[in-house]
Amino acid sequence: MMKYAVSTPTFEGPFDLLLHLILRQEVDIHEVSLLNIVTQYLEEVARMPVIDLDLATEFLLIAATLIELKTRRLLPGKDDGDLDEELALWEERDLLLARLLDCKTFKDVASVFNDLVSRADLSFPRMAGPEERFAALMPDLLEGVSPLRLQRAYLRAAAPKPPKVIGLEHVAPIRASVADALVTVSQQLRLDGRTTFRKLVTGINDRIEIVVRFLAILELFKQGRVDLDQVERFGDIEVIWLGVEEQEISIDKYEG
């Protein structure tokens, strides 16, 4: 049942880990940078033994958010950027911050609960109940209970209960993979030859998909299949297809 605890002995969840990393960095004086946090977070995630899919997803979701924050920072020209994007980014960050604060709050509460339980454990309640002489007074609970009814009660109690289906509504499904994005983006570029990043993400609302697409373009750039140009800071990025069509496009493994 408690499989999580076994696979990740130190951290109960992504917030737990992130909280730990950030608060630990605080000790190392001022140079806390998001970059370090992201790197360490990814290292921790990579270090984890094979864990169950749900938990891995939750860790990766936070990793994706961190990468997003990081990629934003890597985009030059922060002064005159798109205000909407800027705001969205802050919103994202504030959301994460709020959740981390919640996480910290309840961690502290839990330790107080622990103290309360430890103290309460020292006392044992009286549970002996009324003496026999009062037994006759107690109304017969089994009034009207037939053997058949007892049998039905047993069957009801012993019947297999379908395990609750794990609801993942809270986890934003990560539909986008970099590999898929590579294919899509390449196809588009073959047609257009020259386009902009904004056009390549037209109609995509999901933040993570946009990030994934950005990563795909960086990958193409690394492989020498596209050229990138950005005229002004925070301006649109031009993407120019260099037309290497022969071999199949593949991706290196991403750390995140």
């Binding site: 009286r126 209970v145 053997p147 049998q151 039905r152 012993a158 297999p160 209960k161």
Partner: protein, 202 residues
């Protein structure tokens, strides 16, 4: 009484009070002597003195020796209040949770609280306390295994109330036990689409 105990050792008195308060049944002087690391005679003496103290202080409870052991009980003077409490404070009908627990014990006895919890999926402690207080179930033996879990079973009163001569006369449940594959699937935590063997709600 020996001289040494003319004044009761407060630590021993307090420990005695604590143990007897949480005990479900009378506690034998032998066991008390072991727990407190004093002689059985001392236990007897201290308990007697303590009982007198309660009586003269006019408490609503008593310390009595009964069935070979000591226990706290309500003072007979206060029976009218206790009766009112017993009548007022209890539900007149058996809850479905209680009935299910009782059914499990009836069909699977003897079994421990942990085993019942495993079948019901919830801790049956409170319900079992009620059933035991009503005299429908009782501790029947201790498990041989490590930890020596207390095992429970039904009482003659239970049979009497159900109007049957013996446990063998309960309707059979064998036909309804889910087969191994269902059990296995449940253990794996998979969702099973199975025709429910659940009997209709009573």
């Amino acid at each position: 009484m020996s001289d040494a105990e003319n004044t009761l050792d407060p630590e021993i008195v307090r420990a005695l009070e604590a143990i007897l308060l949480v005990a479900m049944e009378p506690v034998s002087p032998v066991l008390l002597a072991q727990l407190l690391e004093i002689s059985q005679t001392t236990v007897e003496e201290v308990c007697e003195r303590l009982a007198e103290t309660y009586e003269s202080a006019g408490h609503g409870f008593q310390l009595v020796k009964i069935a070979g052991g000591f226990r706290f009980q309500s003072h007979p003077d206060l029976a009218p209040y206790v009766e009112r409490f017993v009548l007022d404070g209890q539900q007149a009908r058996v809850s479905s949770a209680a009935l299910e627990t009782l059914a499990i014990i009836a069909y699977k006895q003897p079994l421990s609280r942990t085993q019942i919890a495993a079948i019901r999926g919830v801790d049956p402690e409170a319900v079992m306390r009620t059933l035991q207080a009503r005299g429908y179930i009782t501790e029947v033996e201790r498990d041989d295994g490590p930890g020596q879990a207390v095992m429970f079973g039904t009482t003659p009163l239970f049979l009497e109330r159900l109007g049957i001569a013996s446990i063998e006369h309960l309707p059979s449940i064998a036909d309804f036990i889910p087969d191994a594959s269902v059990v296995e699937a449940l253990e794996r935590g998979l969702r099973v689409e199975t025709d429910d063997v659940t009997a209709p709600e009573v």
